[in-house]
């Protein structure tokens, strides 16, 4: 306590204390606020990435949660949401809460989307995100890992993909445009189909042709608002929902008939088109084939069939009836000379849903007719789903990025092992090398001690990056054999001289040993072995990671100061007790320096754990990468939020170490004095 207790109650003293607290609190806030921003940022996605709050907003705000849900459900693709909802969506952040629809419709829709029919029409959401890993993508990866029992090569073979590790395994693409496209092989399609069947209907979204017609065809042609359309055509529609792609039976013609026909014939997804299966249409189809191919033989040759006559060729009412006829069917549909407009009908999700309401739910015709557009239903149902499972969603969104990172790190388990080994080796070497050097400097008063210390300090003056390239070159052409030979020569000379000339002083013996070492290691061996023979590449070894940082100028300086503070008498007493230099070093010095050694170990740990640039440069082989390098790899292919999550996770070990070793650190800073 610096402030004396006497006079502590004076208002000036109190003011000073209050000020000190204020400054401390301010400091704490400036420390904690950015940390909170990072924590909050780590659970975000594109939808809420630019909401800068110190806590995740979706935890408390349903609207933000809904935006995130919509983003995730539509695979982070605005176009998907736009076609599913039939409205133009500028960005996830601008998504408004949808208009409610009757609960009865929501219930019907909820039932319908669980049917096989709906599953085959819908696309699975939560499968891919803007460089995030949503739930279904995670589950798919897991299911594939389970199915192939971790055998990545078998998976690659079956799915026809080329991935280097499980983090590359993603669900196959499924696109419903004009054609229905899926990536992958037959096998992976089947797998995906069964995977899709297990997922709840709430994960499905539907591409609505009505929305496609309004947003992509009419808006592009007549203008963005309904007013533009009315002005162009002289009509009186109140909003886009009245501009139906499929008019109700018996409705009067309007100026859009040509646009409708063009859309149905040329643009609409083939998947959603159905042709009337009546004698006239069949006949037209056969006539069309005859005109196109000339003879049935030509047709047979092309389709590898054996029809005797065109009338034998089966009529295709829906593309799924015979996908091999696609080209013929599509051309027939395009050609108004053969395919009459009256035969073409839309058979998309909305039509199926209406049928379902009529047939299964038993709704009367008036209720079915009053069903809003599919987009309106989808939006309302999305909101309903989101609110119904808001707790789970909040949990899912909170852990999603962390699971992504953990999943990634777990899949690169060698990274953890490498980091562990590296950290242990780094701690070990710096606990051996630095105390030895410092002990020598502290105990033996060399005439050059000051210069050596100055050199140690000088190494601190340069940033580590400066020595990176030289260290790389040294590690790549490490003169291992000359070094070992030099050390061996030194040892042999030392013992020989000490034996043969016992009267020589210590310094003279050491000097001659050093000379012999330099002679052998620096001159003789490099000449004898040649450049290639004497150099060894240490790249891709732990030695390359550990050696450049083994001796640390700062640590040596710190340790020397600590050793200097130990009472001289202690060493003298030990000497009289008969202790050799090693006993004095090991039993005495090391035992009494535990706090400072803990600080050194801590420094070595943080240095090794956080080493990135050096670890990346010196280790080109991914098998030897440390966690930091892997995290860097992850960051280059991930969303910012995932990067935040990875940083938070990477900081955890250091944080834990510091939290538990606080006492040691403080004891190391305040050098203890032995009384």
């Amino acid at each position: 306590m610096i402030i004396s207790t006497v006079g502590a109650k004076h208002w000036k003293t109190r003011l000073a204390v209050a000020l000190i607290y204020l400054v401390l609190i301010l400091g704490a806030v400036t420390m904690i606020y950015p940390f909170l921003l990072m924590l909050a940022g780590s659970v975000k996605s594109e939808a809420d990435a630019d909401r800068i709050t110190p806590y995740p907003e979706f935890w408390f705000n349903d609207h933000v949660l809904f935006q995130k849900y919509v983003e995730s459900k539509h695979n982070a693709t605005i176009a998907n949401c736009r076609l599913a909802w039939g409205v133009s969506v500028p960005s996830w952040r601008r998504i408004e809460l949808p208009e409610p629809v009757a609960p009865e419709i929501i219930a019907d829709f909820g039932a319908w989307r669980e049917t096989d029919e709906a599953r085959s029409l819908g696309l699975l959401g939560h499968t891919s995100g803007a460089r995030l890993l949503p739930l279904n993508a995670r589950l798919w990866r897991k299911s594939m890992e389970d199915k192939y029992d971790g055998d990545l090569r078998a998976y690659c073979q079956d799915s026809g993909t080329m991935v280097t590790d499980w983090t590359g395994v993603m669900p196959p693409f499924e696109i419903v445009g004009r054609y229905r496209l899926r990536s992958g092989t037959e096998q992976s399609r089947q797998d995906y189909e069964s995977f899709k069947a297990q997922r709840p209907g709430a994960d499905l979204f539907f591409r609505d042709p009505q929305a496609n017609f309004v947003l992509d065809v009419l808006s592009a042609k007549y203008g963005r608002t309904i007013g533009d359309l009315n002005a162009a055509l002289g009509t009186y529609w109140r909003d886009w929902d009245e501009v139906l792609l499929m008019k109700e039976d018996g409705a009067p013609p309007d100026p859009l008939e040509a646009d409708r026909e063009a859309y149905l014939r040329g643009t609409a997804p083939l998947q959603y088109i159905r042709l009337a299966d009546i004698p006239a249409s069949r006949d037209a189809y056969h006539r069309y084939l005859a005109k196109r191919h000339g003879s049935v033989r030509a047709y047979n040759a092309m389709h590898r069939t054996s029809h005797t006559d065109f009338t034998d060729v089966p009529f295709v009412a829906h593309i799924d009836d015979d996908p091999s006829q696609r080209v013929e069917w599509e051309e027939f549909l395009r050609d108004p000379a053969f395919c009459q407009t009256a035969w073409i009908s839309l058979d998309g999700p909305r039509e199926r849903f209406l049928q379902y309401r009529r047939a299964v739910c038993g709704r009367d015709e008036a209720a079915v007719r009053a069903t809003p557009t599919l987009g309106k239903i989808a939006a309302a149902v999305d909101y309903h789903d989101c609110m119904a499972s808001s707790r789970e969603l909040r949990k899912e969104f909170t852990k999603r990025n962390y699971l992504h990172v953990l999943d990634y790190i777990a899949l690169h388990g060698n990274g953890i092992v490498n980091t562990l080994i590296y950290c242990l080796l780094a701690i070990l070497t710096s606990l051996i090398v630095n105390p030895l050097a410092a002990y020598a400097l502290s105990r033996f008063k060399l005439s050059t001690t000051y210069q050596i210390l100055l050199f140690c300090m000088a190494t601190m003056a340069f940033p580590g990056e400066v020595s990176m390239i030289p260290a790389f070159i040294l590690m790549k052409r490490f003169p291992l054999w000359p070094l070992l030979g030099g050390v061996a020569a030194m040892a042999v000379t030392y013992f020989l001289v000490a034996k043969l000339a016992p009267r020589w002083r210590m310094g003279r013996i050491a000097l001659s040993a050093l000379g012999a070492g330099v002679l052998v290691g620096g001159i003789i061996l490099p000449i004898v072995l040649g450049r290639d023979g004497s150099q060894v590449s240490l790249l891709n070894t732990f030695a390359a990671l550990v050696l450049p940082g083994a001796a640390n100028g700062y640590f040596i300086f710190l340790l020397k100061g600590f050793f200097d503070s130990m009472p001289r008498e202690l060493y003298e007493a030990a000497e009289l007790d008969g202790a050799g230099e090693w006993t004095k070093f090991w039993t005495l010095t090391i035992n009494l320096s535990k706090p400072i050694l803990a600080v050194i170990a801590l420094g070595a740990f943080t240095g090794a754990y956080s080493a990135f640039m050096m670890a990346l440069i010196i280790i080109p082989d991914p098998d030897m990468w440390t966690i930091m390098v892997w995290i860097f790899q992850l960051q280059s292919q991930s969303h910012g939020a995932v990067v935040y999550a990875s940083i938070v996770l990477a900081a955890l070990p250091t944080f834990l170490v510091f939290a538990f070793c606080q006492n040691l650190i403080i004891r190391g800073i305040v050098v203890p004095t032995e009384k």
């Binding site: 009472p567 008498e569 007493a573 030990a574 007790d577 035992n591």
Partner: protein, 364 residues
């Protein structure tokens, strides 16, 4: 046991500082020898050279007729107790005491036996499992002594072992070390700057100054017959009074003219002072030999002096006075009533006085 012989020993530190010059000394077997002197006189250096902690620049040191100049400290058969105890902080008392024996590969049973024996001797048996931090200063010093005893060395060296203790503990430990010496009957060399310790404990005292031996003698000889002015002034509390003056021969009479007084010296001194011509000389008297005369006392008075400070100490009273610019101290009976700031008559007991030549040599 052992004797230690130092012949023509010198120590010059790197940088040219001469710590010890031509030091000759024979420490007899079983002797308790105390090296005493002011700070920087070289007494610790001598001890450390005997211990083997300092190299010897010149001369030889022999323990039991074996020259040890080149023998490492651990093989000299000596043990040392340090001023700051130098106990190993991370070891228990038992480990501290057995460390040297362990390093010498003694059997475990013997180590145990020896430690227990010494612990009992020093009354520290119940402290064996504690660490130095948990001990008081006196206990630590006892452990340090115990650590030395356990090794059964030929010579014990003590380097100001009591300086870190408080006054009471110092007196107690002083007695204990003396007792220990009698019991162990081993050669002990003890360095101190405290002349009380030296006087009370030593068989013989070596007074050192400036790297030179000033006098080697038994305590009482040193007190009553100092060889020179340094020894005379260093030994004894309060220190000896020195009166500067001139020696004058007036016919048969031998006179000393001090500043402000002149006295007739005893006739017996003539012979002893024969070498000293008329001229500067110093008269030395211990405080108890400067007698402060009571008002009614009719014995011979040598001078009147103004009193400065009076220190009543109970049994005796120290009177600080000055004459002609020379301050002096008189130690008188505690019953005598004297007040400061008054004049008092003093008599010098010349039968116990010393006379020093200008060179410092004691002639009487």
């Amino acid at each position: 046991m052992a004797s230690v012989t130092l012949t023509q020993v010198s120590k010059v530190y790197t940088g040219g500082v001469k710590a010890v010059t031509d030091f000759n000394l024979v420490v007899n077997d079983k002797e308790f020898l105390v090296l005493v002197g002011p700070s920087g006189c070289g007494k610790s250096t001598v001890l450390r050279m005997i211990a083997g902690l300092e190299t010897i620049t010149d001369g030889t040191i022999a323990i039991d007729d074996r020259v040890v100049n080149e023998i490492p400290a651990k093989d000299r058969g000596i043990a040392m107790v340090f001023q700051n105890y130098a106990l190993y902080p991370h070891m228990t008392v038992r480990e501290n005491m057995s460390f040297a024996l362990k390093l010498r590969k003694f059997p475990r049973a013997e180590i145990q036996e020896r430690v227990d024996e010494v612990a009992a001797l020093l009354d520290i048996a119940d402290l064996l499992d504690r660490r130095p931090k948990q001990l008081s200063g006196g206990q630590r010093q006892r452990v340090a002594v115990g650590r030395a005893i356990v090794r059964k060395p030929k010579v014990f060296l003590f380097d100001e072992p009591l300086s870190n203790l408080d006054a009471k503990m110092r007196v107690q430990m002083r007695v204990e070390i003396s007792r220990l010496h009698r019991r162990l009957g081993s050669t002990m060399i003890y360095v101190t700057h405290d002349q009380t310790e030296a006087m009370t404990m030593a068989d013989r005292i070596v007074v050192m100054d400036g790297g030179h031996v000033q006098q080697v003698a038994e305590p009482m000889t040193l007190y009553h017959h100092p060889a020179n002015r340094f020894t005379a002034g260093f030994i004894g509390t309060p220190a000896m009074n020195f009166f500067e003056g001139r020696l004058r021969r007036d016919g048969q009479a031998l006179l000393f003219d001090g500043t402000g007084f002149s006295i007739l010296l005893p006739g017996a001194w003539k012979e002893k002072l024969a070498k000293l011509p008329d001229g500067p000389a110093t008269l030395g008297l211990r405080p108890e030999d400067v007698v402060c005369l009571d008002a009614g006392d009719s014995s011979e008075c040598h001078f009147d002096a103004a009193l400065d400070v009076v220190e009543p100490m109970g049994a005796e009273t120290c009177v600080y006075a000055s004459i002609g610019g020379t301050s002096f101290i008189s130690r008188t009976d505690g019953k005598m009533r004297v007040e400061p700031d008054q004049h008092q008559r003093f008599r010098l007991r010349l039968e116990a006085a010393h006379c020093f030549a200008p060179s410092g040599e004691a002639l009487v």
